[in-house]
């Protein structure tokens, strides 16, 4: 069975986050959103306008936001704190590690403008290390949904169905929205989007759409690529990875993130221990980004279906 996924219209994943948060907030008064000044750009503005009693503005003080979130969680609230991924995950790492993770509190941290999607703002604002850093923290769950529809579902799941700390990453630029709003989405269970036994492309976030495009083009050349949407980076779906390694013998990972520490590393850790097969990583090659339109940057660094195809072929041809 092979579904051809269709882009239902470009939409930023941050919109999905905002919609999911609002839907949860309406039904659950214990959901409290914390604002660090950039509420509109991270999709929290609707929540702030429509549920002012559940929104707390704390200003440009991310470390404090995380601590306040921990305090709210200790009292049974469900705090949701979103800001740019570079600040949400990196500026506050120690607060997340000690106040949130060591206390094992259900705090939802949204990392907006992840990857290269913030484009022209340049390297300071491009979160390309957040998955690695959030993934290494004990008790943390890390989500990286692939499109706006899925981000909405993942946000609601993060708020209501995850125990303990959770980091959810999403982007700024409008990107293809292609998954069904009736999809089965389970934290920790990857989605097999496209069948194939010649190789497996395990992708996350915006790169899932690129992985699908790569699979369709490879198919024309007689190469049947399996496409897996690894929307949960932690706990990673080991079973799905081992099956892909065993049944295809070749794995390419694709992410809008440094090749070190993120999805590629998570997959490699499983493959190396359980069923070693040749691997290639599509991602940022251990360097900072730069200004440019998101699309241009993705092209420049090979974070596209072309980059994925090249990686697949290089393994197939034994390079």
């Amino acid at each position: 069975m092979s579904i051809q996924y269709v882009n239902l219209g470009d939409k930023p994943t941050r919109t999905g986050f905002g919609e999911g948060l609002l839907a949860s907030g309406f039904r659950h008064p214990e959901v409290i959103a914390l604002g660090a000044d950039i509420t509109t750009s991270v999709g929290v503005n609707l929540f702030a306008e429509q549920l002012p009693g559940q929104f707390i503005s704390l200003g440009i003080a991310e470390q404090n936001c995380v601590g306040v979130a921990a305090g709210l969680a200790l009292e049974g609230k469900i705090p949701v704190f979103a800001t740019y991924g570079v600040f949400a995950a990196l500026r506050t790492t120690d607060q997340i590690r000690v106040s949130v993770c060591y206390n094992n509190l259900h705090v939802v941290i949204g990392g907006a403008h992840a990857g290269l999607s913030v484009g022209p703002d340049g390297a300071t604002h491009q979160a390309l290390e957040d998955l690695a850093i959030m993934r290494v923290l004990p008790n943390m769950t890390v989500l990286s949904p692939c499109d706006a529809t899925q981000t909405k579902i993942a946000t609601i799941q993060a708020i209501h169905h995850v125990q303990g700390p959770v980091y959810i990453r999403f982007g700024r630029a409008a990107m293809p929205d292609f998954t069904s709003k009736h999809q089965t989405f389970e934290v920790g269970k990857a989605q097999l989007l496209h069948p194939g036994n010649d190789c497996a492309i395990i992708a996350t976030g915006h790169l899932v759409w690129e992985a699908l495009q790569a699979a369709y083009l490879l198919k024309d050349e007689g190469i049947h690529a399996r496409v897996i949407n690894m929307h949960t980076i932690k706990p990673v779906d080991r079973e799905m990875i081992i099956r892909a390694a065993r049944e295809t013998g070749i794995i390419v990972t694709a992410e809008e993130h440094q090749v070190t520490g993120g999805l590629g590393s998570a997959v490699a850790e499983v493959v190396a221990c359980e069923y070693p097969v040749p691997l290639k990583f599509v991602g940022m090659p251990d360097r900072f980004g730069e200004s440019g339109e998101p699309r241009e940057l993705m092209e420049k660094y090979g974070l596209t279906h072309r980059g994925i195809i090249q990686a697949v072929k290089s393994i197939l041809s034994g390079i």
Binding site: G59, G67, N103, N104
Partner: protein, 280 residues
């Protein structure tokens, strides 16, 4: 049963001495840890747990208890000793401090299951933010309980403390009381030499807090300052409690070299004798 309030000054003094004795003994057995600060702040812990806070050692998660957030996790020995003397767990367990498998971690860790711990903490600069979050939740739900946050003076060098200070005043958290252990010293020496904090009173005032100063080693003074700091229901209060590091042991009082040290068995014996002499 809710902890009965002690008003008798002699009894408070006796409790403080008991706590100090446990601090010295447990640190000596542990072989490492922070003696100076733990002794200096023992009177404040006595006041909070035996005279001020509503809490129930038999029901540590009683929803309407007052919450104590220890931001300076390194003085955990005084918190543990206080909790043990209040009846949260047997005093003998203090002898397991810092040992493998103990519920008494070097810095408080809730996952080890010690009753009475409100926060796993130890990385400086975080406790006031967590206290703001808890106080905010209490205010949102119109709960009667209060949040007490213990800060170190050296800790005030962390910028995140001032983020939290700003937030507490902005959110009108009158149910939050912070107490700074103003002993004037930190690991590298005098706070004013390492990184000057003064004028501290004016700084907190400017941040919108009710500020009270007191002798943090005088029970009566501590108790009345806590009341003063809480008089405005819309304003967070802070007490700058001037304490002596190593208080109770004359030979080490004010000596910052005792910030991060534990006494040897011999030293512990000597300190316990000095403590008894001070009592008399």
């Amino acid at each position: 049963m809710i902890q009965p309030r002690v008003h008798d000054p002699d009894l408070l003094q006796e409790i403080s001495t008991d706590i100090r004795r446990s601090v010295i003994t447990s640190l000596s057995l542990a072989g490492s840890g922070h003696l100076g600060g733990s002794l200096g702040i023992a009177d404040i812990f006595t006041c909070l747990y035996f005279s001020v806070m509503n809490h129930d050692p038999a029901d540590p998660s009683w929803p309407d208890r007052d919450r104590l957030i220890l931001s300076i996790g390194h003085v955990a020995p005084v918190l543990y000793s206080t909790l043990a003397h209040a009846g949260y767990f047997p005093e003998e367990e203090l002898n397991t401090l810092r040992k493998l498998g103990s519920r008494l971690q070097g810095h408080p860790g809730r996952e080890h299951g010690l009753p009475g711990l409100e926060l796993s903490a130890g990385s400086l600069g975080q406790g006031l933010s967590v206290s703001v979050g808890r106080a905010l939740a209490g205010k949102m739900d119109a709960r009667p309980w209060r949040v007490y946050c213990i800060l170190g003076d050296g800790e005030l060098q962390e910028g995140s403390v001032w983020e939290a200070a700003m937030a507490a005043a902005h959110l009108n958290l009158g149910n939050l009381t912070a107490i700074v252990d103003r002993n004037g010293v930190q690991i590298d020496g005098k706070t004013e030499k390492v990184m000057a904090l003064e004028p501290l009173k004016e700084k907190w005032k400017a941040f919108g807090w009710e500020v009270v100063e007191c002798d943090g080693n005088n029970h009566h003074d501590v108790l009345s300052s806590i009341q003063l700091a809480q008089h405005d229901p819309e304003k967070p209060g802070i007490i700058l409690a001037y304490t002596k590091m190593g208080k109770g042991i004359r030979s080490i009082e004010g000596d910052y070299s005792w910030h991060g040290k534990a006494p040897s068995k011999e030293e512990a014996r000597q300190f316990l004798c000095e403590l008894e002499e001070g009592e008399r």
